[in-house]
Amino acid sequence: MRNIIRFRVLFLMMLPALAIVIFNNYIPMFGVVLAFKNYNFQDGIWHSPWVGWENFKYLVQTDVAWTATRNTIGFNAVFIVLNTLGAVAVAIGLNEIRGMKLKRTFQSTILFPYFISYVAVSYILYAILGQAGFLNSTVLKFFGMDAVSWYAEVKTWFFILPIVNTWKHVGYFAVVYLAAIVSIDTEYYEAALIDGASKFRQMLHITLPMLAPVVIVMVLLQISRIFNADFGLFYQAPLNSGSLLPATEVIDTFVYRNFLLNGNVGMSAAAGFYQASVGFVLVLLTNLVVRRVSKENALF
């Protein structure tokens, strides 16, 4: 009590952020009860009748829920691998560039896609994949091939989406890894040079091992979010094309579609709850592993 009076101004300072977090994050947490209710607008959240696991049963019966889960995990797994390999390669490469100007230019251009919104990305993608887009009008024509309706070709999106994601994010991760490489003590390289280690051997025996802890932490952080898909990428990049859903439906788009477009409150809430709880468990597991790998990088 004495503390509260003594620090009353500090408490007051924290009030706005606390109010926002309680409103925006904590109150909706209680809304997970919707997953166990048959929601109707007259009765509202609290007075709508309970239905037990009914919504989940319904969810399990839809094939789409399974497709969405598979896509969410599958794509995210591929993204993690591509982002990590790509970013480590770019970071190591950038570190070897001698001219500062050249290095800066490369870094800026590779980071650029990270800065534009997914709506803008969808336009860029349309310029490439559209009916009259660059691929159809120039590339395929050059090879004497027929135009392809990319926005209807399901299978191609298993490749297009990872390419788009890598394009957008590789610069971001490369910057993080480059920062870690720059901070490696140059004495290691000097010693290696005296021992006659080649550039490749230095990379293999100094750079990569020294970089490993950062990479591991970054990968684990991404794994903890493997159940959350990037809504912009999966909804906006394919222009919400209905025929592509087998490849582009993820849990986030599934919830959005069923809730706001089809008005299916119960099942969407159930899917959201399923996503949140699996995600929660994954974060806890990840943290456990990070603590083992490097304690100071653990989340809590």
């Binding site: 109150i27 870094q107 919104s117 989340l299």
Partner: protein
Amino acid sequence: MEEVVKSSAVIRRKSKIYHANAMSPVSYYVLVTLLGLTSLLCVLPLLLVISVSFSAESNILRDGYRFIPEVFSVEAYRFLIDDLDKITTGYGISILVTVVGTFLSLLVTSLFAYPVSRPDFPYRNQFSFIVFFTMLFGGGLVPWYLLYTQAGLKNTLLALIIPHLVVPFNVIIMRIFFTNTIPHALIESAKIDGAGELRIYSKIILPLSLPVLATIGLFQMLAFWNDWYTSLIFINNPKLVSLQYLLYKVISDLNYINSGTATIQAANAVQETLPSETAKMAMAVIGIGPIIMVYPFLQNYLVKGLTVGSVKG
């Protein structure tokens, strides 16, 4: 004196090693080429969009999208002038939300991060955890949407601002910055001199924290500027359409025609009111333009911010 001699020796030694440890010219040029190609792949698609927006529509219809406009034309931009009021509304909403949102977000975040960074504040860990926990678990879209709707926030600018105000990661970065760079003795001595908490915050903490405020401010600017998701969910009033959401609507109308769900007549009817192919790309340029202009400035700070964040995430 000794130190100067020593450091110049280090420099000499380093520069020697730098030469001795250089890659062979051939592999260096291979590396430069590879990175150059990667860089090109990152910006070429954007150049395609820009060049199409400056092409004559008839060329695009005949040859498809090309990198070099056969006939330079600004007809696409002239076409967009018809939609000028929509575009200016979009810019207005986006700028308003970005400016107000970024300012409020910095204010609220720093007001929270400062107390929890104070070593003498007994509840700092408990309060940090309250914000931090929101990174671990959430209620999901459905309850979140219903709450905002029932609170009457649908079709209000607040619905575009509130969701981005408190980002736990930013709180963590700011807290670390305060803890590491502002000595507690400074706060103590200010107190002895009779300064109140608010005065310490505004006259000591904030001026000393300009680097982290700039970094997080730019992160937030980007988040507010690029956001179209909250508009998609909460906005259907045409007066509140932000620039990104306007872009979204233009291209999703186009998809409606492409997907074949519309009948031919409906498609034709819509087609006439829709901008042409080049106008679409001009629309994209208008949407991306501001980012390109502030990019050199932005990326510098964000690289610094990312580096801070990676040291201790």
